[in-house]
């Protein structure tokens, strides 16, 4: 092992300490991602891994990347993940039992083989010269160095990547765009429908939700004149989702019908 390759030389002790503390934690977090049931927990563990990686970047003389990692990745991308998670249901937890027979042992065996082979290859690998260290390259500042490269050698890929970004943004919009199945009804059409409908009861429009004076949330049905809740006053999708509040306790318990009209 001493003949070994990738003799990078001894790094500073603080870095070693950082590595040996953070690396196991990172590995544990990554493993945890696989093992936890709730996707949102996975996302949080993932965010931890990314922050840890950002720290490693900075420790290795790549402060620009480290910052980008935190800002773009942990900040934006992970937010996006969480956002989607919220959208599809943050509460749902996955079942970890395997449904495809034989897949898990195959995957684990393959992964162990893969990791083992990769590590052992790395152990044998050689680039034929000693490590240089990043200090010289960063002599004019890390950001400046990267900018130098990006706008000279890599300017063409850079432009292509920008086109890719725009395309991806457009693609996301196209994909997420909801296609109308029917033509959007015009006001005129709606009006005609109201009057030509089954009954004239809805001609004046649906009742607004909420119990006036006591409650005006959209998920509370309105009360009919006799005090019973009006189902038609709540949006159908809220009902379907089961998010309608019970309005029974806002009902008028007794309507005093005995009051005589004052003459």
């Amino acid at each position: 092992m001493n003949e070994l390759a990738l003799q990078v030389g001894q790094t500073a002790a603080p870095e070693a300490m950082l590595f040996w503390i953070l690396a196991p934690l990172t590995l544990a977090a990554a493993l945890g991602m696989l093992l936890v049931k709730k996707a949102v927990h996975s996302a949080i563990l993932m965010a931890f891994v990314m922050v840890a990686l950002a720290i490693f970047y900075i420790a290795q003389g790549a402060p620009f990347l480290g910052i980008v990692q935190i800002v773009v990745y942990t900040g934006a991308v992970m937010m996006l993940f969480l956002f989607i998670l919220m959208l599809v249901g943050v509460d749902s937890s996955d079942s970890l039992t395997e449904t495809i027979r034989g897949l898990r042992p195959i995957a684990i065996t393959a992964a162990v083989g893969f990791g083992g082979l990769l590590v052992s290859l790395l152990g044998r690998a050689s680039i034929g010269r000693g490590a240089v260290g990043i200090e010289a390259a960063n002599s004019e500042g890390n950001v400046e160095g990267i900018a130098q490269l990006l706008f000279s050698t890599f300017v063409w890929p850079f432009e292509v990547v920008s086109a890719l970004l725009i395309t991806a943004a457009l693609g996301a919009m196209v994909l997420a765009h909801h296609h109308r199945i029917q033509e959007r009804p015009t006001q005129r059409q709606l009006s005609i429908d109201r009057f030509r409908g089954d009954s004239l009861a809805t001609a004046a429009g649906l009742p607004a939700p909420g119990v006036f004076a006591r409650h005006n949330a959209v998920d509370v049905p309105a009360l009919l004149p006799d005090g019973s809740p009006a189902p038609a006053s709540v949006n159908a999708s809220l009902k379907a989702r089961g998010d309608v509040l019970d309005s029974s306790h806002f009902e008028l318990g007794t309507v005093d019908t005995s009051v005589e009209e004052e003459k």
């Binding site: 070693a16 990172t26 490590a131 240089v132």
Partner: protein
């Protein structure tokens, strides 16, 4: 401390990501595992950049991040679309390729 350690760490993270892609059914988790693999690769790039003493590795890692961002955007859009029609984010439910 040997910089190669970062590479070993990177290899292990990559492997964990790969396993995650195979064993997890939730499309979003699968995506996160892919991100993990990409990040593992980035760690390698940064480490190689250090070993070689030039910034090319870091630039490539930068590009990787951009591409990963694009991929996440499009991928999540797809997940949302699928979820909208199937009410499920499980990759196993989208097995129409077979038929």
């Amino acid at each position: 401390m040997n910089a190669a350690n970062y590479l070993y760490l990177s290899a292990m993270l990559f492997t964990i990501g790969a396993v995650g892609v195979v064993v997890r059914r939730n499309a979003i988790v699968v995506f996160m595992c892919i991100e993990l693999m990409l990040n593992a690769a980035n760690l390698s790039f940064v480490t190689f950049s250090r070993i070689n003493g030039d910034l090319n590795g870091q630039v490539v890692a930068f590009f990787t991040m951009v591409v990963a961002a694009c991929e996440v955007v499009v991928g999540l859009a797809i997940i949302v679309t699928i979820y909208r029609s199937r009410r499920s984010a499980s990759v196993d439910d989208a097995s129409l390729l077979k038929r």
